[in-house]
């Protein structure tokens, strides 16, 4: 496609390999449905993830209906309540957050940001999406089978997950859940290998690893984590399927169910928990690291200032990723595992707080002496800092084993993880959509609607989850459909619950504003031009907006500098694009 040219510039190495010809779609089906173009696949991933996310949003409203106004709605029984809770959790963590960050943002941004024409393996990339789509279909099917979906909690702890006391335990519910997860993992593995190989192999000339935007570092590291963590979940799902369908006893000890001796024996429920959390804790960072990366880029761009401590940020991402594999049992302090594990896992968990705190410092130090444009993406980034800081600090309660003992399995935990891995990453997703929508569509999202959307979502979410910690402090356990009549729970908790529910409905309804903005701006949004935010990274430097097939013009961009040359002294503009050969700033050699 392109002739190899040599350029003599100290920061761009000469080309070594010829470009490989891309797959060119010829008809509607191969172009838009079974597409092999990462940008189309990204939109497909995002569309499905957001659609299934809306299901999860409706489920959360149903949960809040019950908690805020117990016994008012006949269709919410303990059975359906547990089904709502389970499906809400599973959809949000796996099918929305993981899929949207990696499949959505990963596919769209990795090739564009590193200066590649597409992913390394476009065909496998297409398969990845379609298997994910199948996984979602299987998941949604479980709503319509007799007995309904599983109500085992998103952690699916055996033995209850596959017994008759749990909704969907003896029906198809749990089977479809496990099958869907297995499919998701297969699909993800195809996509994930692609993202890793693409970042390692296909960066354009001059794009060294230490010149990657932090968005790419976040998604790349998260993908590596996911490739290592998801197999543990796959093993657990397969074994549990065997326990359920074939009567094996991987996780099932000898037990008596409602007076009947079951034929299980010798298995270990705690083994499942170890496998689950060996996946489940890295999963937190699979969601968090892309959010860390993206928010770094949003803050830097909209504050017109280089990210503070880039190298520290990269090593913090890598360090957090590595540490995330040795903290999993802090989810199991009260599981009955050997008590001495508590010393180890509390120590590793609190150590991980250090690089995480450094990231927060660097975000706010980026604001210092900046020129802060309070655009919608910047507002969402600030909202992220607040909620992530809040959730991170309550993590210091729950990570410290002795403090976790009284708080574990209470609403404090629910408040903590929603703040830190629910609200915080979702605020980043919103900010990212407002930020990159102009590149994807060529039009701006409406700024006024965006600001209203931000304030209602941010303040509303804070009003939901901040007071919820205190319900947990009182001692109210999680996963209770109603408060019951325990003497230690004052009536005022019910009032607070009603208030939280009203805040939740407000936030839920506000998302209509977002969807309206998303669709309306497709046609009516202001044309954005190529680089409306005056950003430095390569995706904004494409010749076409939205970028055409192959992303860049006849020649791939050459990269001369790091991605954060904002407000460089002496430069004529307040940003220097990565492919701008102009004056080399100090950071350029980083």
């Amino acid at each position: 496609m392109v002739e190899i040219k040599s350029t003599s510039h100290p920061s761009v190495p000469p080309a070594e390999l010829e470009e490989v010809e891309l797959y060119h779609a010829t008809n509607f089906w191969t172009k838009y449905v079974f597409s092999q173009d990462a940008k189309i696949i990204a939109i497909q991933y995002s569309g499905v993830a957001i659609a299934v996310g809306l299901v999860a949003l409706v489920l959360s409203s149903l949960i809040r209906l019950q908690l805020g106004f117990p016994e008012m709605f006949d269709f919410i029984t303990p059975e359906t309540y547990y089904q709502f809770v389970t499906m809400h959790g599973m959809i949000m963590v796996v099918y929305l957050l993981t899929a949207l960050f990696l499949g959505g943002f990963g596919n769209y941004l990795i090739p564009l940001m590193i200066g590649a024409r597409d992913m390394a393996f476009p065909y496998v990339n297409m398969l990845s999406f379609w298997i994910y789509f199948l996984a979602v279909l299987v998941l949604v099917t479980s709503f319509f089978v007799p007995g309904g979906p599983t109500g085992a909690g998103w952690t699916l702890y055996p033995p209850q997950a596959i017994l008759s006391g749990t909704p969907g335990g003896k029906g198809l519910g749990i089977i479809l859940m496990l099958l869907s997860l297995a499919l998701f993992i297969v699909g993800f593995t195809m996509g994930g290998l692609n993202y890793v190989v693409t970042v390692l192999q296909m960066r354009t000339r001059g794009m060294t690893m230490m010149r990657l935007p932090l968005t790419v570092w976040g998604i790349f590291t998260a993908t590596v984590l996911a490739l290592l963590a998801f197999p543990a979940l796959l093993v657990a799902t397969v074994m549990m399927l065997f326990d359920r369908l074939l009567g094996t006893s991987f996780f099932m000890p000898s037990l008596v169910e409602f007076g009947d001796q079951l034929s299980y024996g010798g298995g270990s429920p705690i083994l499942f928990q170890h496998l689950f959390w060996f996946f489940g804790h890295p999963e937190v960072y699979i969601v968090a690291l892309p959010a860390f990366g993206i928010v770094s880029d949003l803050i830097s761009t909209h504050a017109r200032k280089n990210i503070f401590g880039y190298r520290m940020m990269v090593w913090a991402i890598v360090g957090i990723g590595a540490l995330s594999f040795i903290v999993w049992a802090h989810h199991m302090y009260v599981s009955g595992m050997h008590p001495y594990f508590g010393f180890f896992f509390a120590t590793t968990t609190l150590i991980i707080a250090v690089p995480t705190a450094l990231k927060v410092y660097n975000w706010i130090l980026t604001l210092w002496n900046g020129n802060i444009h309070l655009t919608t993406p910047m507002l969402f980034s600030l909202g992220f800092i607040v909620t992530f800081l809040n959730g991170g600090l309550t993590g210091l309660f729950l990570g410290n084993v002795i403090v976790d003992i009284p708080l574990s399995d209470t609403m404090f935990v629910v408040a903590h993880f929603h703040m830190v891995m629910g609200v915080a990453p979702i605020l980043v997703i919103f900010g990212a959509i407002y930020h990159w929508y102009p590149k994807v569509t060529g039009r701006m999202l409406d700024e006024r609607l965006g600001q209203i959307h931000f304030w209602v979502t941010f303040v509303g979410s804070y009003l939901i989850f901040f007071p919820m910690h205190y319900i947990g402090l009182v001692g109210v356990p999680r996963r209770y459909p109603e408060l019951g009549d325990a003497a230690f729970i004052p009536d005022s908790v019910a009032t607070l619950n009603s208030f939280i529910s009203l805040a939740a409905f407000t936030v839920g309804i506000a998302q209509i504003l977002f969807l309206y903005n998303l669709f309306r701006s497709l046609r009516k949004g202001q044309p954005s031009g190529h680089n409306p935010w005056r950003a430095t990274t390569l995706e904004w430097q494409t010749a076409q907006t939205p970028p055409g097939h192959g992303n860049f013009g006849p020649e791939l961009p050459l990269v001369y500098r790091w991605p954060y040359d904002y407000s460089v002294p002496g430069a004529s503009e307040d940003f220097l694009a990565q492919n701008d050969p102009g004056p080399i700033a100090k950071g350029g050699s980083a």
Binding site: Q160, G165, Q261, G309, I351, R479, S567
Partner: protein, 265 residues
């Protein structure tokens, strides 16, 4: 301006909510005051960090807001500042971890004087067993569970004969007497949870888990299940009473032993 102000209001609002909150933990009824102290310490340290960082953000948002002609500073790194922040953060984290681990060591070290009490969970009720006059609990196994032996106590085990079985009734404990709570499950995971005790632990079928505590306050306390155990999870309630020594002795004298129960069947 508006945004900076909103952040300040959020910080002040959070602190005021915390200070005025009527929602606070229940008065403690065991020796685990350290847990409450650790929560308080953590609140102080994290609350301080929260307020300082958010006020800093609010200040930046106000002070460095976009103005025509303003040029942001260009400062990629500052090693001194980064090192300094790393050290301070590590110290703060260590200040939380160290006392936490000391208390954890106490929590996992059961004193010699502790007497054993067994709690058995099943969907969706609690049963209890106390060692009889011999001070030892007999062995038990889910495989031995039958209509006449709901806890699966081994009838061959001499230690089990005088065990006191409390099935479908309240558990009583003597104030001031350290107890090792041995936890067992018949079917699925449960968690023996009394908020006033602070300590809790999962009950896992196929193994015996435990925690220890010393009841310090006479009273009646609700037992809840804190590990999802099926549709009845939210309704699996029970009662524990902490008695004075006299009341406890009186109550104990009215209980039936395993051997008496078996004879009645």
């Amino acid at each position: 301006m508006k945004t900076a102000l909103a952040l300040v209001v959020l910080v002040i609002g959070s602190v005021v909510f915390h200070l005025l909150s009527p929602w606070w933990w229940t008065p403690i009824a065991t020796n685990w005051v350290f847990m409450d102290n650790m929560i308080s310490l953590t609140f102080w340290i994290t609350g301080f960090v929260y307020v300082v960082i958010l006020l800093f953000v609010a200040y930046c948002v106000y002070k460095f807001r976009y103005r025509e002609g303003r040029v942001a500073a260009y400062e990629p790194e500052n090693h001194k500042l980064e090192t300094w922040l790393t050290v301070v953060t590590s110290l703060g984290v260590a200040a939380l971890l160290a006392p936490g681990l000391v208390v954890w060591f106490q929590f996992v070290t059961v004193p010699e004087a502790a007497t054993e009490v067994e709690v058995v969970g099943q969907q969706w009720s609690w049963s209890f067993r106390l060692p009889g006059a011999d001070g030892k609990l007999g062995t038990a196994d889910n495989r031995l569970i039958s209509d006449g032996n709901t806890l699966g106590i081994n009838p061959e085990d001499p230690y089990g004969q005088d065990d006191i079985v409390i099935d479908g009734d309240d558990l009583h404990l003597a104030v001031g007497q350290p107890v090792k709570m041995l936890l067992r499950s018949v079917d699925v995971l449960h968690n023996f949870y009394v908020p006033e005790f602070r300590a809790k632990m999962d009950m896992v079928p196929g193994m015996i888990t435990y925690f220890w505590m010393e009841p310090t306050r006479v009273g009646t306390y609700d037992v809840l299940c804190a590990e999802l155990c099926g549709v009845g999870h939210g309704y699996m309630s029970g009662t524990v009473m902490i008695d004075t020594d006299e009341d406890y002795a009186l109550w104990l004298s009215e209980q039936t032993t395993f051997v008496e129960m078996s004879a009645n069947k």
